[in-house]
């Protein structure tokens, strides 16, 4: 209803509701109108027959602007210059809205609605509309609840990129500059919580324990988030996507990554990149030539461990699908530092695929590969935030289209039937065959033997629910911690006794190498450091994560006051079990990384390499 003042009502009720001239005779010929502009309003008294033009003159003087900047709106109707107040039925006390146009015109909305289908669920987090003009991932649904503005908009029609690209960087920049968003993105704990609480993410984590690894790895998370905050990187990614999707021939040299803008790029990135390159060339020089994808596809099948026959992958279809994959980049994959340096051809196939594909996790690839050799595993709907976060900690892996993924998910669901929540140990304990196959797939002959031997005993010793319940009891966790400490002490004082307590050690997360049961194993036991690396940290990280959880359960907040050796005892044990024999180096690394086991491992490895 229009703003009608009491006076006007009375006038209307006086018997001349629609006769404006009668109103005029009753009231004065002057009308008091309220001119409302965003932020303020002002009364103006003008004659009834004032034309809009005259009114605008008055207003422009008052608001100190040009006349052509003024737009008058009444009851949703634009007031033209030749209209008069009386003509438009503007009575006393009515409100006229005023918009003062800016001199340079307004900024179009980031998402020009005509370019996007309405009500499409993938617009939920659509902020970087122009970011992914080339993204073709079909029906990828962005469901990450995080308010990060960073999602790549799927299904952006190529045709309409111009507008979007022009508008989006500004908007992106604006959004990223928003300090609250920056803060949100830099809070890794919060982000991690967000991500892990998301139901789809949890589902992913159930099916793929590697994802939890990634989330636990604070460095990856931090780097990813930093990446996400940096718009320059995103722009480079866009360019890379374009180049990657134009791949028609195998590329032995990677497309330019534009690593310049990545702050804090460490040697690991370059190194793993170099390794990656070597792997790729090696692999390509095998029997496969031609399209890089055929190489991968053909190469993948013979690598399968599963004995069950699998239908040959529809390579054509996949090749078609692959170029359409969103390609947020090798950057993410490599930056974890533990990647790609693997000699096994299967790995290489996986890693090689990264050049044109997005990231998923190694575990996922293994899982799917085991269960459905055909399936090209990938991260679902590479919700690009999840992309960012879902770096392969130990490996780069594959991505694929959504449909493929659905199949894989179903298959993996069938095989991993139990509900898996929380830690990866549960997954492995529930699916011993899966775990064994994972070990096999990772082609770690020494350790896989050990795992297979110890798995049944471990399973016998621990029942899942009991374990969980007892872990929940703080006293129990404290007791376990005490045992751990005792064992560590034992290890340092009387290593000869270790074989006697080996089963308990294993149950609590130690993984003594079969070749040497002493804690101070030399790095030489890792004669193939490349292959060993991903296995060790991965396996131990899993138990390390359990231990760390125990640790946090039982430890008082005064941990920081204790000597570093005491408060890092958990991590020290893990490191020792993994083969980092140098007690002091371990301690130093842990201190430097503030108790972050995985970061310490990387530190130690790096120092070992040089």
């Amino acid at each position: 209803m229009p703003h009608v003042s009491a006076r006007t009502l009375r006038m209307a009720q006086s018997g001349c509701p629609t006769n404006l001239s009668a109103d005029k005779t009753i009231s004065s010929s002057v009308t008091r109108v309220i001119v409302k502009t965003p932020g303020k309003q002002q009364d103006f008294t003008v004659a009834d027959d004032t034309s809009m033009r005259q009114f605008k003159e008055k207003l422009s003087a008052h608001f100190d602007c040009q006349m052509d900047q003024l737009v008058l709106v009444f009851m949703g109707r634009l007031l033209r210059d030749h209209d008069t107040l009386r003509q438009r039925g503007i009575l006393d006390g009515h409100t006229i809205h005023l918009v003062i146009k800016s001199k340079h015109g307004s900024q179009p909305l980031a998402h020009s609605s005509q370019n996007l289908p309405i009500n499409e669920p993938c617009h939920w987090n659509g902020s970087t509309k122009g970011n992914s003009s080339e993204v073709h991932q079909p029906a990828g649904i962005n469901q990450a609840p995080v308010e990060s503005p960073l999602f790549v908009e799927p299904e952006m029609p190529k045709v309409n990129t111009q507008n979007l690209e022009a508008g989006s960087p500004g908007h992106m920049a604006q959004m990223l500059d928003n300090p609250s968003i920056q803060q949100l993105l830099s809070n890794t704990d919060l982000m991690r919580q967000f991500i892990s609480e998301h139901p789809e993410m949890q589902q992913l984590m159930q099916q793929n324990p590697e994802v939890s690894h990634i989330l636990d790895n604070s460095e990856i998370l931090w780097q990813t988030l930093e990446l996400a905050r940096n718009i320059a990187i995103i722009q480079e990614i866009m360019q890379i996507q374009q180049t990657a999707q134009n791949l028609e021939h195998p590329q032995n040299s990677q497309p330019p990554l534009g690593l310049e803008t990545i702050p804090g790029r460490d040697n690991a990135l370059g190194q793993s990149y170099a390794d990656f390159n070597d792997q790729m060339t090696n692999n390509l020089q095998d029997t496969f030539g031609g399209n890089i994808f055929t190489a991968l596809l053909s190469g993948q099948v013979p690598e399968q461990v599963q004995s069950s026959p699998s239908p040959p992958p529809p390579s054509q279809e996949r090749r078609d699908q692959l170029p359409q994959l969103p390609t947020t980049r090798v950057i993410y994959t490599s930056s974890c530092g533990l990647s790609a340096a693997n000699a096994t051809p299967s790995r290489v196939n996986h890693t090689a695929r990264v050049s044109a594909a997005t990231i998923s996790t190694k575990g996922r690839s293994h899982t799917c590969a085991i269960q459905q050799p055909v399936g090209v595993p990938a991260l679902p709907s590479i919700e690009p935030t999840q992309q960012h976060q879902a770096e392969g900690k130990d490996d780069i892996s594959l991505s694929k289209s959504d449909q493929r993924l659905e199949d894989d998910l179903q298959l993996s669901d069938e095989q991993t039937s139990s509900q898996i929540t929380g830690s990866m140990t549960q997954l492995l304990m529930n699916n011993p065959c899966l775990a064994a196959q994972m070990m096999l797939f990772m082609s770690m002959p020494q350790l896989s033997e050990q795992w297979r031997q110890q798995m049944p005993t471990f399973l016998l010793q621990t029942q899942l629910s009991d374990l969980l319940l007892s872990l929940a009891n703080p006293k129990a966790s404290q007791a376990i911690l005490q045992i751990e400490r005792g064992l560590q002490l034992l290890a340092t004082e009387a290593p000869a006794l270790l074989p006697w307590v080996a089963p308990y050690l294993w149950g609590l997360g130690w993984l003594p190498d079969p070749s040497c049961s002493y804690p101070d194993m030399t790095p030489s036991s890792w004669d193939v450091p490349d292959t060993a690396d991903p296995k060790g940290p991965e396996g131990c990280h899993k138990s390390g994560a359990v231990l760390q959880r125990l640790h946090s359960l039982a430890e008082e907040p005064s941990q920081s006051l204790q000597a570093p050796e005491i408060c890092f005892s958990k991590q020290m044990e893990s490191l020792q079990a993994m083969g980092f024999g140098n007690h002091h180096a371990n301690l130093q690394a842990l201190i430097d990384t503030k108790g972050d086991t995985s970061a310490a491992i990387r530190k130690l490895k790096r120092s070992q390499r040089f």
Binding site: P38, G39, F74, Q107, I118, G126, K129
Partner: protein, 168 residues
């Protein structure tokens, strides 16, 4: 002169409680509330709403809330998209900055009401704008007021509407 274009203006109404308010309000508040309403204005094929992050826009139904629970026809407007965006920009700089958000006094419905009046001269239905006072008139609402005051609602899925150039 050709007749000017008329653009329809709709009000999208969302129940933030997803039905819980209707069921629990008699018990908790002592009076019946049909919902906790969040509204947005849809015009020119875009949805505009106000939250703790300022004025945002998205494709209609494009926030995390999904499709609206009801749609109210506000009327139609001659205001073009360009003028409307200008208007929103200046609103966002003056009256509807993100920090101005207050769940009771200055919320999304305040914004929708303001914009609806600008576009069509009509207000939005009163059951929506009366909600805060309805809640505050109950002892429960009064008791929880400090807590509720600090709540900031920002449905995810929108882009901020603004003038990055910083022009006046």
């Amino acid at each position: 002169m050709e007749p000017p274009n008329l653009y329809p203006v709709k009000l999208y109404v969302y129940d933030l409680s997803k039905g819980l308010a209707r069921r629990l309000s008699p018990i908790m508040l002592g009076k019946q509330l049909e919902g906790i309403w969040h509204t947005s204005i849809v015009v020119h094929k875009d949805e505009f709403f106000f939250g703790s992050g300022g004025i945002s826009s998205c494709p209609p139904g494009g926030t995390l809330l999904g499709p609206p629970d009801s749609v109210v026809d506000v009327g139609s407007t001659e205001v073009t998209e360009e003028i409307f965006l200008e208007y929103l920009s200046s609103l966002g700089e003056s009256l509807f900055r993100g920090e101005a958000y207050n769940l009771f006094e200055h919320n999304c419905n305040t914004f929708s009401n303001e914009v609806a009046q600008f576009l069509t001269g009509r207000k939005i239905p009163s059951y929506i704008t009366d909600l805060p006072s309805e809640v505050l008139s109950t002892p429960f609402g009064q008791a929880l007021r400090p807590l509720l005051d600090s709540i900031q609602i920002q449905p995810p899925g929108g882009n901020t509407v603004g003038r990055p150039n910083g022009q006046s």
